[in-house]
Homo-oligomer: 207 residues x 2
DNA sequence: TAATGTGAAAACCTTCACAGCT
DNA sequence: AGCTGTGAAGGTTTTCACATTA
């Protein structure tokens, strides 16, 4: 297997495998076939096998995949074996909900700093994190080893904030603002946009 | 143009067009070319023209698209000209943030009821909405004309809650729980899953 | 026997390139 | 002159189907 560029769609599915395998493991399962895994995720076995084949040969013919082994491999591939440090910009309602969200930490994503442009917010404590002024951003990113910026500001401020984060040195951005931001190549963007999700849903619901 | 099945990827992009066109309109622009629109959204003009061509001929050769007209057409296509009524299940931290989120209403998505399985929550008021017991779900969906269910319960409860919602008659589900739920065909699912987004991001950040 | 890994085929999606309209 | 709408080409992703191996 020589290393052809892995399609992004494949990378987007790997975390799904990690999650399903983790559940199976917690349920006490040792081995799983692409057929069974596909059943859990509503995917074809062929797609699962093909996806995994981009990275190696993890299964045993006639048996399937050892869950513990495959999980370890997938976590390595995705870079989930280390802690990832993020900073949050915007501590309004949404930002507070994000800081208090308990789903990130168990997966190794830690919010280590929070910023806001409002003087009212600066210096306050949100979920145990002190809110800092935007001016401190670059310094904190460097000293606290932050690689991910989480954007929870109003739409109008999103692009400038993202520019500042990128300038400050983050490599990835998780954006909750309802905009389609522009970032330099090499910076990885992920958008969380429930309104967009609903607006495409209604296409199938109308009538 | 005869009506071939529209690819889902195309439907997923239409709300992006709606958003960009709305911004342009607010900025006072009357007409836009696929070239210009592509600039805003980092897409090729050809893709935009092809996407729109699935639904009709909205532009004028030599000029471009009249924004007001195209917006109206796209909103019709997506079903955004009417109000969509949703109910929320789960009024923990996440559920509260969703109820208080101000981004839904301006786009015509209204949360008209909230449910929780915890006796402590039932009867309380969250953001002006009374929290009802799960037993009332089917009745409320029917009487209040609810078509969308929003799921904000812990992972373990997500699938049963989704089954109840579907049984109750919702046609679409916006799921915030970190699971890959199974729904009957005909039910439209959208997942909001920031952890999954981060876990695919790190693939590109590791090293 | 049972299930992987994988070339090849099929399906799907994007981009090209240009006729045709304003 | 400028830009749309669209067949056709090109590229990508999924599925098939089977040789191979435990």
């Amino acid at each position: 297997m020589q290393s052809i560029e892995v399609p992004e769609v494949v990378v987007l599915r790997l975390p799904l495998y990690v999650r399903a395998l983790t559940q199976l493991q917690m349920a006490g399962t040792d081995v799983v076939s692409s057929q069974q895994l596909g059943g859990h995720l509503q995917m074809t076995p062929a797609q699962i096998r093909k996806d995994l084949s981009y990275f190696g040969r993890f299964g045993k013919q006639g048996r399937g995949y050892n869950i513990q082994f495959l999980l370890k491999e997938l976590r390595d591939i995705l870079g989930l074996t280390r802690e990832w440090r993020a900073c949050l910009v915007g501590v309004g309602r949404l930002g507070r909900a994000i800081i208090n969200y308990t789903g990130f930490a168990p997966e190794g994503f830690t919010i280590v700093a929070a910023f806001d442009s409002s003087d009212d917010q600066i210096g306050t404590d949100v979920g145990g994190i002190e809110v800092l002024p935007m001016g401190d951003l670059a310094k904190i990113i460097a000293t606290k080893n932050v690689t991910i910026g989480i954007v929870a500001v109003p739409a109008i401020q999103a692009q400038p904030v993202i520019d500042i984060l990128v300038e400050g040195g983050v490599k990835g951005i998780l954006n909750y603002a309802p905009v389609a931001p522009q970032v330099p190549i090499g910076i990885v963007m992920r958008n969380i946009d429930p309104v967009l999700s609903l607006q495409s849903m209604t296409f199938y619901l109308k009538d």
